[in-house]
């Protein structure tokens, strides 16, 4: 191991010890997803809006039956989003190139490589698995809904109507099925092959291939390859993704990197504040002590001065008394002498 690599690892270990083990952003290398993890390629140009995927999703996840049957495509006239009863929905979009052929696009959890939902959950209810799916564990969820706030794709939904057991709901990429070697429900049911399941790396190759073979059909962008650090779902389209209501301004930075700075501030605050504050306190105390000392000094001086004054006064008084006494004696003596001489004269 090179010295540099070792230092890098040590640094990463230190950082992750501070902010937890699952933050990939703590290492200095860009996390590119688990190798061999799975994903789905959605070729939007092949989607016909039949809603088979919605029906399959409903079935395999045992979701409640909707009011309108899945064979009724009139619901496509309205814009819809995922809900606690529907983990995936297909939306119809106007085609600016050819107004007669609308474009259909399916939305569901994109299973981000570094999911915002997982990085913000304060009980780790969300987890990115090595196989690709981002899973949610309702047995620990507190229901703060920060995951919903954080998801850049507005995917997680909530059972607002449940008083005691509300859960966050979203697509699982059919994790229970793929670990058994089955296809995700939606992929299995898609009649046109618009959905393709496979290793993410392979899917990216296939997507590149399709673009280069038919550059007139596709725009040159695999949505999800880099968005928010990359997602397990990948999309190909014939029109800019923006026209399909997909954000193109998300950037390529994985979600946890946005908060890494704030988290690394924690040890600094915890380390520095006590030092600074105790220092300030000590200074204040010292100032007070100095002021106190000065005060005492002043008092002492004053007392001494007072004492000295008093002494001086006393001495003066004594002196005066002394002289007074002397004069009195002198006077008395003088008087006596005078009287004596008077008596002599008279006698």
């Amino acid at each position: 191991m090179s010295r540099r690599k070792f230092l890098g690892l040590a640094g990463a270990a230190g950082a992750s010890a501070l902010i937890g083990s699952s933050a990939h952003s703590a290492s200095n290398k860009h996390f590119e997803g688990y190798p061999n993890s799975f994903g789905v390629l959605h070729d939007i140009t092949l989607c016909v809006g039949c809603r088979s995927c919605e029906a399959a999703c409903n079935r395999v996840n045992e979701l409640p039956q909707p009011d309108v049957s899945f064979s009724d495509v009139s619901v496509l006239e309205q814009k819809r989003r995922t809900s606690s009863d529907a983990f995936t929905v297909v939306n119809k979009h106007a085609n600016l190139k050819n107004s007669k052929v609308p474009i259909f696009n399916k939305i569901q959890c994109n299973h981000c490589l570094e999911p915002a939902c997982a990085s913000v959950c304060f009980v780790k209810a969300f987890k990115k698995t090595e196989q690709g799916p981002v899973l949610y564990d309702p047995s620990v969820c507190v229901g703060c809904r920060y995951c919903m706030v954080a998801c850049p794709f507005d995917i997680p939904t909530y059972e607002y109507d449940k008083a005691f057991t509300p859960r966050v709901r979203k697509c699982t990429l059919c994790y229970p099925r793929i670990i058994e070697g089955l296809l995700p429900g939606c992929v299995e049911s898609c009649p046109t092959g618009a959905l393709k399941f496979g290793k993410r790396d392979d899917l990216i190759k296939i997507a590149r291939d399709r673009i280069s073979k038919k550059p007139e059909k596709y725009i040159e962008h695999i949505y999800g390859e880099h968005e928010m650090g990359g997602t397990s779902w990948l999309y190909l389209s014939g029109v800019p993704f923006k026209q399909l209501g997909m954000r193109e301004d998300l950037g390529i930075k994985p979600a946890p990197e946005y908060t890494a700075g704030a988290l690394s501030g924690v040890p600094i605050v915890v380390g520095l504040w006590p030092v600074l504050l105790t220092g300030i306190y000590a200074m204040t105390k010292r100032k007070e002590k100095v002021a106190d000392l000065e005060k005492k000094e002043c008092v002492k001086e004053a007392i001494e001065k007072e004492k000295a004054d008093a002494n001086a006064k006393l001495a003066k008084a004594m002196e005066k008394a002394e002289t007074d006494k002397k004069t009195a004696i002198d006077k008395a003596v003088k008087k006596a002498l005078e009287e004596a001489s008077k008596a002599k004269v008279e006698g």
Binding site: T82, V123, V142, V149, P156, L263, V269, Y281
Partner: protein, 390 residues
């Protein structure tokens, strides 16, 4: 003493109590609906808008406005500004009540409130800023409780426990500052994860700093505002020191608030400049941003300065109220107004009246608790038995 009993007797059936009583009754009713029918029964929250005013107002604004506790105790105990000593207890009490209400409000908002200890005992999501907020708020609530305890212990006459609690003051104050720095800034950092959802004029990598600095402003303004209210309603409870120091506090805290507001204004401007977002000012959101910056930051900064210079205590008090409103506006802007700004209006959030009822209800409970404690415990005066003990 006798004037006090008369006072409390005649206040039993006044407008305040009747009003508060009604709010409490409606609040309890909505509480019942919330915990039996789920969030859907009483809120307008949706899959696009998972956080409403219970987070925007009760949590974000609530925590900021409860910052008076750490700001005041730091000023007095750490920076040695002894002349504000009489402001400490009311500020700590407001902080303690404020944080308690935040926790109560949270248990309305989260789906399974009985699991609120889970982040600590089951699994720690340490990459989450919400974890930091939760941990700090929990710890700080404990600190505030201990900081507040001398008053309660004096009231109960437990001298030994009280002197122990007083000995801890310094350590608790430092602890309080650390915890407050962390969670006040983390509340801003909560929104770092959503650059794509929060309007660029409000989104900034400096959000944690903005939140921390503005919490100081909120704390200072709340102390002024709260002390002027207390003075109006509980003057008979105050001792000479409190009455004498009251104007000192207003002037001193007003001066500090003016300075911090000026600093806050500067860093906000830097934030917009660094992101090079000036072109967005000429949009409707930009106008609203200007209202916040000029009306609720620059204006109070200026008014505080005038008030302090010309010793106009009343002006400072009104400015404090205005600043408090400004903090609420700022927190609501970030969590609700500028959040999800790209969504069409049909998908935006507006609070259900029952959500507002719960917020008002909790606020009322806070005021009732404050009244109760202030009339019973030595908050606004020094307990005669402990006069010279600090």
């Amino acid at each position: 003493m006798s004037s006090e009993t008369i006072e409390s007797r005649k206040t039993y059936l006044n407008a305040f109590n009747i009003c508060a009583g009604m709010i409490v009754l409606i609040g309890l009713f909505v509480t019942f609906l919330r915990f039996t029918g789920g969030l859907a029964k009483v809120t307008n929250l949706s899959n696009y808008n998972p956080w409403g005013i219970w987070i925007g107002f009760d949590l974000l604004a609530g925590v900021a406005l409860a910052a008076g506790g750490y700001v005041t105790s730091a000023a007095v105990y750490i920076f040695g500004m002894k002349k504000y000593h009489s402001a400490v207890r009311p500020a700590v009490l407001t902080g303690f009540l404020g944080y308690s209400l935040v926790v109560i409000a949270l248990s309305y908002d989260v789906g399974r409130p009985w699991r609120l200890p889970y982040p600590f005992i089951i699994q720690q999501g340490t990459t989450s800023l919400l974890f930091e907020v939760a941990a700090c708020v929990a710890l700080y609530l404990t600190v505030l409780f201990l900081e507040f305890s001398p008053a309660a212990l004096e009231w109960l006459g437990l001298k030994k426990a009280r002197s122990l609690a007083v000995k801890l003051t310094m350590v608790l104050t430092i602890f309080g500052v650390i915890l407050s720095t962390l969670h006040q800034s983390s509340l801003g950092a909560l929104f770092l994860i959503v650059p794509s959802k929060l309007h660029p004029l409000w989104y900034s990598p400096y959000l944690p700093i903005f939140f921390f600095v503005s919490s100081i402003i909120a704390g200072l303004s709340m102390v002024i505002f709260e002390s002027s209210l207390s003075h109006k309603h509980f003057a008979y409870k105050m001792d000479e020191t409190h009455l004498k120091e009251k104007d000192d506090i207003t002037l001193g805290f007003g001066k500090a608030a003016s300075l911090v507001l000026a600093g806050y204004f500067t860093i906000k401007v830097i934030g917009v400049s660094v992101a090079n977002n000036w072109s967005l000012i000429a949009t409707p959101y930009g106008l609203w941003f200007l209202v916040e910056m000029l009306g609720f930051v620059a204006l109070p900064c200026f008014l505080y300065a005038i008030g302090v210079r010309e010793k106009k205590v009343t002006l400072i008090r009104w400015t404090a109220l205005w600043t408090v409103i400004g903090i609420v506006v700022n927190r609501l802007n970030i969590s609700l107004v500028a959040f999800n700004w790209h969504l069409p209006s049909s998908e935006r959030y507006f609070p259900h009246w029952m959500e507002i009822v719960i917020s008002v209800f909790l606020l009322t409970v806070g005021i009732i608790a404050f009244r109760f404690i202030v009339t019973k415990m030595p908050i606004l005066y020094e307990h005669p038995e402990y006069k010279d003990e600090h």
